[in-house]
């Protein structure tokens, strides 16, 4: 019996082809928009994570407990040789690099500027950050001159220095707190799409930084690159607990840059809101279409009831019509969604230069299609269209056959 109702519902849908296609296309466009926005956000998230983690941060970091909060020079990583030895054994760790980190002053003959002075191992640092790729003038620690320093473009502008000019770095030494000064020669100038880094960061060789900070061979930070960026997002990864010992803490980038994760959480909320608005449109679209169709065929409904169709069957018929409209809309939506998302995933969307949560988008955003988009959203469209059909179905079920035929007549 249900089969004839399905057949009837599907055929009824095409009695007014234009209206059905207008309603179906409207819902389909909404579905395609949801699929596209989801794909765009995945692309944007991947892009932002890549920028945030590969520019300098890494997928995770290890410090002594409290260092991130206090930035005290004395808080170096405990048993760092053991930690680095263990990291070499980790399958999920692709690369890691040690760093020192201190705040100090850099002085040129013209000016003085506060700076974050980062001691790096140029060889391993290349795998963790893009500083070497962002050099716009000079070179990135070529040769073995310990007095080379690489500074940001804005810092160079403020200090009024060029490649080869001398600057003096002043830092407070560990334990004693004595001020130490050292002369450096500007060997490279970098430019990130990040104003803070360009103005406030300077890189020197690890050995030299350890020396002027009085750290012997101690380090403040180990930046880690994972074999898969997803590890860095996983707060429950056993890795973090494993390396949070000896008084050290291992943290993912999501803890170092929580504002970015907050943005992603808000993204999910905005997707839900977008979906909600869309489904409200679906509700009105479906109700409107079904009721127009229902009023047009009032006599027919009266006849169906007259010949013995039970009220529940009438409700089923309307629900099948709503479901059929949903299926049609999903078909249209998926086709439109695939076409638009595919085209944009090939051409990319240009958001370069836009800064989100301190991360400047540097590359084209490529929407990413995943199978979930074509299951999750269509499923909910079908559920919503069918649920929306409940009211017209209830109306049709309650309809008195005599009144239906009288009204139509």
């Amino acid at each position: 019996m249900w089969w004839i109702l399905v057949k009837l519902a599907w055929r009824n849908l095409f009695r007014n082809t234009r209206r059905t296609f207008i309603a179906g296309t409207a819902i389909g466009i909404g579905l395609a928009a949801l699929i596209f926005v989801d794909a765009l956000w995945i692309g944007m998230e991947e892009n932002m994570i890549k920028i945030a983690t590969s520019s300098f941060l890494g997928g995770g970091q290890i410090h002594q407990e409290g260092f991130r909060k206090t930035q005290e020079i004395e808080r170096t990583i405990n048993q760092h040789h053991q930690v680095m030895s263990n990291l070499k054994q980790e399958e999920i760790v692709a690369r890691f690099t040690p760093r020192t980190f201190a705040f100090g002053m850099i002085t040129s003959p013209a000016h003085v500027i506060a700076a974050a002075l980062v001691g790096v191992d140029p060889v391993t640092e290349k795998y963790l950050s893009h500083v070497d790729e962002m050099i716009t003038e000079g070179t990135y620690f070529e040769g073995d001159n310990e007095r080379n320093i690489v500074i940001g473009s804005k810092m160079a502008e403020v200090l009024e220095v060029e490649i080869g000019d001398r600057v003096v770095a002043t830092v407070s030494q560990a334990k004693t707190g004595d001020l130490a000064q050292e002369m450096f020669r500007v060997s490279g100038i970098f430019h990130f799409h990040n104003h803070e880094m360009n103005r406030g960061m300077a890189f020197m060789r690890l050995g030299k930084s350890q020396q002027i900070l009085g750290l012997k061979d101690d380090i403040h930070q180990i930046a880690i690159k994972f074999t898969d960026v997803k590890y860095g997002q996983n707060k429950l990864l056993p890795f973090w607990r494993k390396y949070s010992k000896y008084g050290n803490e291992a943290v993912s980038w999501t803890e170092i840059l929580p504002e970015l994760e907050t943005i992603f959480e808000w993204t999910n909320i905005s997707k839900v809101l977008l979906g909600f608005v869309f489904f409200i449109i679906v509700v009105f679209g479906i109700i409107n279409t079904l009721f127009m169709s229902l009023y047009e065929r009032m006599f027919e409904f009266g006849v169906l009831r007259a010949v013995g169709t039970r009220p529940s069957r009438m409700a089923q018929l309307i629900l099948f019509e709503a479901g059929s409209l949903g299926v049609l809309s999903i078909g249209i939506g998926i086709i439109l969604g695939i076409i638009t998302t595919y085209i944009c995933s090939k051409t990319g969307i240009d958001y370069t230069g836009i800064e989100v949560a301190g991360v400047t988008i540097q590359e084209l955003i490529y929407p990413v299609m995943v199978i979930d988009q074509f299951i999750f959203y269509p499923f909910w469209v079908l559920v919503f269209t069918t649920i929306t059909g409940l009211y017209p179905a209830w109306y049709a079920a309650r309809m008195s056959p005599a009144k239906a035929m009288r009204r139509a007549g």
Partner: protein, 231 residues
């Protein structure tokens, strides 16, 4: 109620409210129709013909009074019981044919048998047979819009009769047809009445139907004005 009586009404009253003004469509109809009768209910517009037909078929509820159909008191049934009762006992023929345009002729006729749960093979055989009876063999896969008015009404008659109901209620069945086609269909229904013994009750303005009717009941202002058996 005897076994020969298929329709019995007792003090049947129906009142509508139009802008808070009561309109008395039926004012206490007492009527008995026997099995196999070929009865026409006539009267001017607003006399209560359609209301009477709707109530005796269970499409509408009386304000007061009782209706028995095939010995069942239908005026107390709920919606679902009435649906099942109509499905098994009453065939309808409407003025405007009222076939489902998206279903084929065969599917239109088959629909009621689907409701009755009749097996597929039997359904098909009955459809073929009834189309033969109404002179539309070979039209099984046509859609109603592809048929003439007369042909559509033949399909409507087939649909009404295929479930082998006790009573056929026909509301102005010839009103939308030319006189020749109307006469042909009337003759066909008359012969089916004679052959099957089904009770036919018409609501009509058509003189040809009145002339053919075995019994002529005239309604006026919601009351029976006359009730005559004809030769």
């Amino acid at each position: 109620m005897t076994s020969q009586q298929v329709i019995v009404t007792e003090d049947l009253t129906k009142t509508y409210s139009a802008n808070d003004v009561p309109v008395y469509a039926l004012r206490g109809i007492n009527l008995t129709i026997a099995a196999g009768e070929f009865t026409a209910i006539v009267g001017p517009s607003g006399s209560g013909k359609t209301t009477f037909l709707n109530i005796i078929s269970g499409l509408d509820q009386p304000t007061e009074g009782k209706v028995w159909l095939s010995k069942e008191l239908i005026s107390n049934m709920n919606g679902r019981q009435l649906s099942d009762f109509r499905r098994d006992n009453i065939g309808f023929i409407f003025q405007a044919y009222n076939l489902i345009p998206v279903l084929t002729v065969g599917e239109n006729i088959e629909y009621i048998m689907l409701l009755q749960g009749i097996p597929k093979i039997e359904r098909h055989q009955r459809v073929v047979d009834i189309l033969e009876v109404v002179g539309l063999a070979g039209y099984i896969d046509r859609k109603p819009p592809q048929l003439s008015g007369g042909q559509q009404q033949r399909v409507a008659i087939a649909r009404a009769m295929v479930s082998q109901p006790t009573i056929i209620l026909a509301d102005e069945p010839t009103a939308n047809l030319d006189s020749k086609t109307g006469s042909e269909l009337l003759e066909m229904m008359y012969q089916l009445n004679k052959k099957t013994g089904m009770t036919f009750v018409f609501s009509t303005h058509d003189q040809a139907v009145m002339d053919r009717a075995q019994r002529l009941i005239t309604l006026k202002d919601g009351l029976i004005d006359s009730d005559n058996m004809q030769e």
